[in-house]
């Protein structure tokens, strides 16, 4: 179970952004809806342990994120949280397989090439496993970034604006993949977006105002 309790954050002297409490049960799929500038990215960073909030608590499966040391938090994030960014960003100097193995080793898990192949196959890009990122199309890169997010079977899968730069057809395809992968890896899914097209696919919505 994932919960945030009385979280608020302020950047320097700027206005304090408060977030209402949120509880997510394991395996649920949530939509985090909000216009740009509503604090969506801030909440995502707080949720993924990247940004320590000024006040409040974030709890993932019984672990209070910000009571961990910096090193423990890094490792916890690597093992339990998978993040998909708006634009797929892979390490250019490494092949697709190496990018995924790197994600395993940063989470201090042994390199598991069988798992890499399995994930790539489930996303239909196994043929590209030895290619470098600049040899792939944008759509293929997006799939690889999903693969990287789920490679360590995270408890929480977070996608930040995964569809905003895509056309209708591709937006739905990516959304389907996210749903499919979160189901396949038994991960809780949170999709943050201001894209109204994806609204219908979710029953649970957390709206920022």
């Amino acid at each position: 179970m994932i919960s945030i309790k009385s979280v608020s954050h302020s950047y320097g002297h700027a206005q304090n952004i408060g977030f209402k409490d949120w509880e997510i049960n394991n395996g649920e799929q949530w939509l985090l809806l909000g216009e740009s500038g509503s604090g969506k990215t801030t909440l995502l960073h707080v949720l993924t342990g990247i940004l320590k909030p000024t006040a409040g608590e974030v709890n993932i499966d019984g672990t209070s994120l910000y009571s961990l040391s910096s090193r423990e938090l890094d490792q916890f994030r690597g093992r339990n949280i998978g993040i998909i960014f708006q634009r797929p960003h892979l390490i250019r100097s490494l092949t697709i397989t190496e990018n995924l193995v790197m994600a395993q080793s940063f989470a201090r898990l042994p390199a598991d090439l069988k798992r890499v192949r399995e994930v790539l196959e489930s996303l239909g890009i196994a043929a590209k496993k030895n290619a470098y990122p600049n040899e792939l199309s944008q759509g293929q890169l997006q799939r690889v970034s999903i693969a990287r997010a789920v490679i360590n079977k995270p408890a929480l899968l977070i996608a930040d604006e995964p569809t905003s730069s895509l056309d209708d057809k591709n937006a739905h395809a990516v959304l389907d993949l996210l749903m499919q992968q979160s189901g396949l890896n038994q991960a809780t899914l949170v999709v943050a977006t201001h894209d109204k097209r994806v609204k219908d696919a979710f029953t649970n919505t957390y709206e920022l105002r």
Partner: protein, 424 residues
């Protein structure tokens, strides 16, 4: 996928700038390697050649020139000294061993040196084939001479007047090779040794040749060519007593006791018309003269290394700006701050380490090439000698890598990933 491998892969993804950095460092290290090897080897060669010789006595002039000509056989002799005066010094109680040298001829640029058996004992010479010279016009040649001139025992050749050039050839007598020395690793590898009388005879008319025979304490000798010389006794009517007429080029001296160090040179310089020079002192002086040039080159190389370090720094610093996002992504994947620090600093260290290794190898290779093209084989340099001191070059390369990488690495360590990620 360790941080080291990520650094390695990252360097390979930008081969041009990596190669530039490696080249800069290799160049600096290469120059330092050459300087280190060359100065060590020259120093060793100097010591090796003058090992057992405490003093050289010769005609007045530059002491350095006397040493260069009589120990290293590179410069021209300062002049000749009377044999009589030399013999008096040789019999001094301060002297354990005295070796007379008579130079003046060459064969294909190789010096023909007239001397006696003391030369053999002072340089501890051995023959690999044949025997040492005994009769007139018999020569024993150094190992390199034998190899380069393709001379073997029984071969004959004509010497030419002077220390270089072959325009003025002494056609009257031919030298005959009777022995070849084992390689000694010093100047004797490049010399043609004969007795003093042969050198005299080459230059004198026949009447003096006969005088030399008498001077040899009745040992006598036989010419291979017997009677082919022209006997023209009336050519020099003003000839004085035989011994005073005879001259040699220099006298190498080994002291009997440490006491001689103080007494003997002063005695020679004050009470005779001759000059005494110490090989050790003159070598040191020569080396301090060369040292100025070596120092300048060393500073030059250090400057190149500094530029290389700055170049590596700029390279890492700039690429860090581009890679900020990469590194932030790695953090979201679970990489710790210290892992990012390692990734960045390993890049610096890998670059400089590769540069250092290539530089050291390059330095050896270039020195070997220089050695191959060197004209004077007396001071030939070799690139296949590795020194313990090269470990310091290695350490310096490592230090430069750490120095160049530490600031970018610290930046990577401190970076605020939330800020970087929210910008894109």
């Amino acid at each position: 996928m360790s941080p080291l491998k990520i650094s390695w892969k990252s360097l390979w993804s930008k081969p041009l700038s990596s190669a530039l950095n490696i080249m800069l460092i290799a160049f600096g290290t290469g120059i330092l390697t050459i300087l280190l090897l060359a100065s060590t080897q020259i120093g060793q060669k100097l010591d090796n050649n003058s090992k057992d010789i405490d003093l050289v006595v010769g005609a007045k002039g530059s002491p350095l020139q006397l040493i260069l000509s009589s120990i290293y056989y590179i410069d021209f002799p300062t002049g000749n000294i009377p044999l009589k005066a030399a013999q008096e010094l040789a019999h001094s109680p301060f002297v354990k061993k005295a070796v007379p040298l008579a130079q003046g001829d060459n064969y294909q640029g190789i010096r023909i040196v007239g001397t006696d058996s003391n030369f053999v004992s002072i340089y501890k010479l051995k023959t690999s084939a044949g025997k040492f010279w005994s009769a007139d016009f018999e020569v024993t040649i150094g190992s390199i001479v034998a190899a380069n001139q393709k001379l073997k025992i029984g071969d004959t050749f004509f010497g030419a007047h002077g220390l270089t050039g072959s325009s003025d050839i002494h056609k009257t007598h031919a030298y005959k090779v009777v022995g070849i020395l084992t390689p000694q690793g010093n100047v004797t590898d490049n010399l043609i040794l004969t007795n003093i009388a042969s050198v005299w005879k080459m230059h004198e008319d026949h009447e003096k040749e006969e005088a030399a025979e008498h001077h040899q304490d009745g040992k006598g000798h036989q010419h291979e060519d017997g009677t082919t010389h022209q006997h023209d006794k009336n050519q020099r009517p003003d000839q004085g007593p035989q011994n005073e007429e005879k001259e040699i080029t220099a006298l190498l001296i080994q002291y009997r006791s440490p006491m001689s160090v103080v007494m003997f040179p002063r005695m020679v310089n004050q009470s005779t018309n001759l000059q005494a020079a110490s090989p050790a002192m003159e070598s040191t002086r020569l080396f301090s003269l060369i040292g100025v040039g070596v120092d300048t080159l060393q500073w030059f190389a250090a400057l190149i290394m500094l530029i290389a370090a700055i170049s590596v720094f700029v390279n890492l610093y700039n690429s860090l700006k581009e890679r900020n996002y990469d590194l932030a992504i790695m953090r979201t994947l679970g990489a710790s701050r210290s892992q990012l620090f390692c990734i960045v600093i390993f890049e610096g260290i890998l670059l400089t380490l590769a540069g250092t290794i290539i530089g050291i190898l390059l330095g050896h290779l270039v020195l070997q090439l220089i050695g191959n093209y060197q004209e004077s084989s007396q001071a030939r340099l070799s690139g296949f000698i590795f020194l313990k001191d090269e470990i310091y070059l290695f350490a310096a390369g490592l230090a430069i890598g750490i120095f160049a990488g530490i600031i970018p690495a610290l930046q990577a360590y401190r970076s605020n990933i939330s800020k970087i990620l929210s910008k894109n």
